[in-house]
Subunit: 456 residues, 2 copies
């Protein structure tokens, strides 16, 4: 370790830090795992620096954990075996924007917000939008998505290619600029969702989208959870190309009304919707969903047509997690991430809420329901030593129900430390063994984010 | 080899054939490679049979080549190292159709045509449509697409999960039924496009789509190739969600008019278009494209609104390859498959045609131009020993231009034998080495379709 630190300092200078405060910042993400301090934090600025550090770590068998914005929720960036935390947040250049092909090439530390600010004048946007301020490199590594995925796909569908530094420092390019290709193994998709365990992403080529001619947003409130979820199910089954369809349960609405000062809404299960298209198309879509909602007891649409009202609404949605954890002062939250086939969503959500209620646990549900994905923020008192364990118990119960319904333990947050225990049940032992085969082929010394995805 | 044949015959009986005629049928695909006879052909009917044969071949180090419908165009199914040709075309069960989640589970020998006939009553369809009658297993293995990919994506975006038999006979399940997941490495995408070199696909879970409320088709003819291609480029850049936008050059139109008795059209560069959506949406899209076409000298839209006229048109498009090879009696064809970023498509296509014309080579261009992908069928006289080599020369030139424009040697047909020589230039030596790492991890004895994708 000392040899690596000394050698890295030789080319990084001050950007290799062993300061306590910096190491603490890199000791975990937005999760509730027990923090571990890395031995040092390396703030890299170029692919070459990444390559040199990896070659060093590989040579000395020192663990290395990539760190983007540290917003991941399953212990992904916790350096459980110590070593180097490789901070990529300073690699923020937007290297190319090709309006005529709707693609761009960026460094991994660029955030969605930064990219969209940059693109706005050119009539384009990048749609993948987690409810956090995070890096696009981190989004690739976790296979992230967000509220727009129902219409525009997840990060998986929006990456054309990557530059990746392998465990031994070699640099490769994956993918290309064409819209499709049948030219060998799909390395791009293999790195997406690999959580820093197969290589370090140093460049990303993204697919962009045109800002739609017309957009409108609406809010619809329901008497109960099942009515809101069933409206979603029928909407999806009707093939209406909604751009966003987000569920907030009564507790989450209560939290948002308070935290984001949302006026004029009641604390009942609610759908936030957005429609993209031409003027006529947007109207058509909205009318179709409104009819479905009314059929299910929905209480009419409240429209947010002007840009300001729309952005207030989506800001509240974006801040839902913070609203939830602020519902009980001093409490913290852990977040489930179950995703099920759309037909099973009512069972999954109504069941999950009933489980929580039966235990007297306060939870807030917010969901990308058009994809069958929902998060249940389980609040707990950090001063009660047993409370976190009780929250995890409930999380396991909710995951078990999701798996039994044909779903997955993670729709978008990833595996990290927190979801490792479910993977064997979900994939089977042989498929999991095959993932390990890939891991050991790519990283024979096991230096890249060891302890994540797989239980040892 | 004899041991494998004897052991396989014990459980396959007659379905293990060493008959000359059967072996000849499995000696290559729809390509112009020199045929190689496999030692035997195994007609499997269950996953268990596949598993047993693979275990046998692996134990004895005998090569095995999966065979779907044998329509691939790059020598994929040619058993260059002999061994077993594993014919999956009898595994044609449709195991599940879930209307409420729009997915289905099928065996790999099911064809798109069979599946769509089955689905029609239920208001759903499967959109990936190569211009051949081929198996969905083969489509997964080649990462196929077709005319609808511009709107609905390629096979890659339409597979939710797979059952795969590994080289040593172990059976795994990949993916799941949710619309998205962040639950470990993306094994599904790794097998898609792996051309039978990593495992044998025995089940496929597909995503289905609702048959759109309204569809209309149109044909637009242009004075020259550039005008037709530029109409495509502007249409795509405008974000109009065309369902299909196919180019046929003057020679291809000449061929189709003759072969498919397309009346009322001239042999000039032509776009075949299709629009899907609501009644109003379809009209809106069509008007927008018509305006762009007129701007580029397009000679008005000929509408094919009734289902019969539409299907005549698309049947002609579907048969374009056969029309092309029949243009000169006794000739055969090889097919390029370049795909470039959409902005470079005019350069790629106009340049490719000029190259052919300069050499006095008759070629027909037909292209999935909305994706930047086009095929140039290069006709050659099989009785002239030098003619095939001249055709390959032209193919190489067209690929080189495509790569120089930031494109790929294969948009959808795959690598097989024919495109191996371009992969190093396209991906770089290190990325290609990483693909080999995957290959040797998955298939340590190298029994699965040896000689394909990689040059040895
Ligand atoms: C309030 C809140 C809301 C959220 N909402 C969503 C949501 O809607 N959808 C969603 O998908 N997620 C959501 N998340 C989770 C989180 O924001 C995402 O997982 C995000 O993609 C993480 O990005 P990051 O830059 O913070 O990565 P980090 O947390 O820094 O890292 C995440 C993982 O990626 C690896 N990594 C980071 N950068 C690289 C790189 N360049 N190369 C290789 N590996 C790398 C790390 O090693 C780690 O394993 C939310 C989180 C919070 C706190
Ligand atoms: C006239 C014509 C038009 C065409 N148009 C198109 C087009 O528009 N788009 C397009 O993408 N392609 C097109 N093709 C190419 C071809 O049809 C596709 O590549 C198709 O996907 C091949 O399917 P198949 O069942 O014939 O596979 P095969 O040719 O039998 O096999 C192809 C490859 O897949 C492997 N394989 C087959 N089944 C399995 C399995 N179950 N598990 C693992 N590996 C397997 C084989 O080993 C081989 O490597 C066209 C071909 C022709 C002749």
């Amino acid at each position: 370790m000392d040899a690596v630190i000394a050698a890295a300092r030789a080319f990084l200078g001050d950007r290799l830090s062993t300061a306590q405060a910096i190491r603490e910042q890199h000791s975990r993400g937005e999760d509730q795992t027990a923090p571990t301090l890395p031995d040092a934090v390396a703030y890299v600025e170029t692919t070459e620096e990444v390559s040199r550090i990896l070659a060093l770590c590989n040579q000395h068998g020192v663990p290395l954990v990539a760190f983007g914005a540290g917003t991941s929720l399953e212990g992904h960036v916790n350096p459980v075996r110590r070593g180097i935390s490789l901070d990529l947040s300073r690699m923020t250049s937007i290297l190319e924007v090709n309006a005529e092909d709707m693609d761009c090439l960026i460094e991994p530390g660029v955030t969605r917000q930064q990219l969209n600010d940059y693109l706005r004048d050119q009539g384009m946007f990048f749609p993948v939008d987690p409810g956090s301020v995070c890096t696009i490199g981190g989004m690739c590594a976790t296979r992230a998505s967000g509220t727009n995925a129902v219409r525009y796909g997840t990060i998986r569908e929006n990456v054309l290619g990557l530059e990746v530094v392998l465990a031994d420092g070699r640099v490769i390019q994956t993918g290309g600029r064409s819209r499709k290709a049948a030219n060998g193994y799909d390395l791009t998709r293999l790195f997406i969702g690999s959580e820093g365990t197969l290589g370090i992403i140093t460049r990303v080529r993204l697919r962009l989208h045109g800002i739609p001619e017309a957009q409108s947003a609406a809010v619809c409130q329901f008497p109960d959870l099942a009515a809101a979820v069933n409206t979603t199910i029928v909407t999806m089954q009707s093939g209406i190309p909604v751009a966003r369809i987000e569920l907030l349960d009564a507790d989450q609405m209560r939290a948002c009304i308070r935290y984001s000062k949302l006026e004029g809404y009641r604390a009942t299960p609610t759908l936030f919707l957005e429609f993209h298209g031409t003027e006529a198309g947007v109207r058509e879509q909205a009318e179709a969903v409104e009819a479905i909602a009314l059929d299910h007891g929905g209480e009419g649409f409240a429209w947010a047509t002007d840009a300001e009202a729309r952005s207030r609404l989506w800001k509240a949605r974006h801040d839902a997690y913070w609203a939830a954890v602020n519902l009980i002062p001093g409490h913290r939250g852990i977040t489930t991430d179950v995703c099920v086939p759309i037909s099973r969503l009512a069972e999954a959500i109504v069941g999950a809420k009933a489980d929580a209620d039966a235990l007297g646990q306060t939870t807030c549900i917010v969901g990308h329901v058009g994809d069958g994905n929902f998060h249940q923020v389980i609040l707990f008192d950090p001063n009660d030593p047993a409370a976190l364990e009780r929250a995890w118990e409930l999380d396991r119960k909710i995951v078990a129900r999701g798996l039994a319904l044909g779903g997955t333990c993670s729709g978008e947050h990833g595996v990290g430390l927190g979801k490792r225990e479910f993977l064997e049940q979900e994939h089977g032992a042989e498929a999991l063994a095959l993932m390990r085969t890939i891991k050991s082929g790519f990283d024979p010394k096991g230096i890249l984010n060891p302890g994540k995805i797989f239980r040892n």
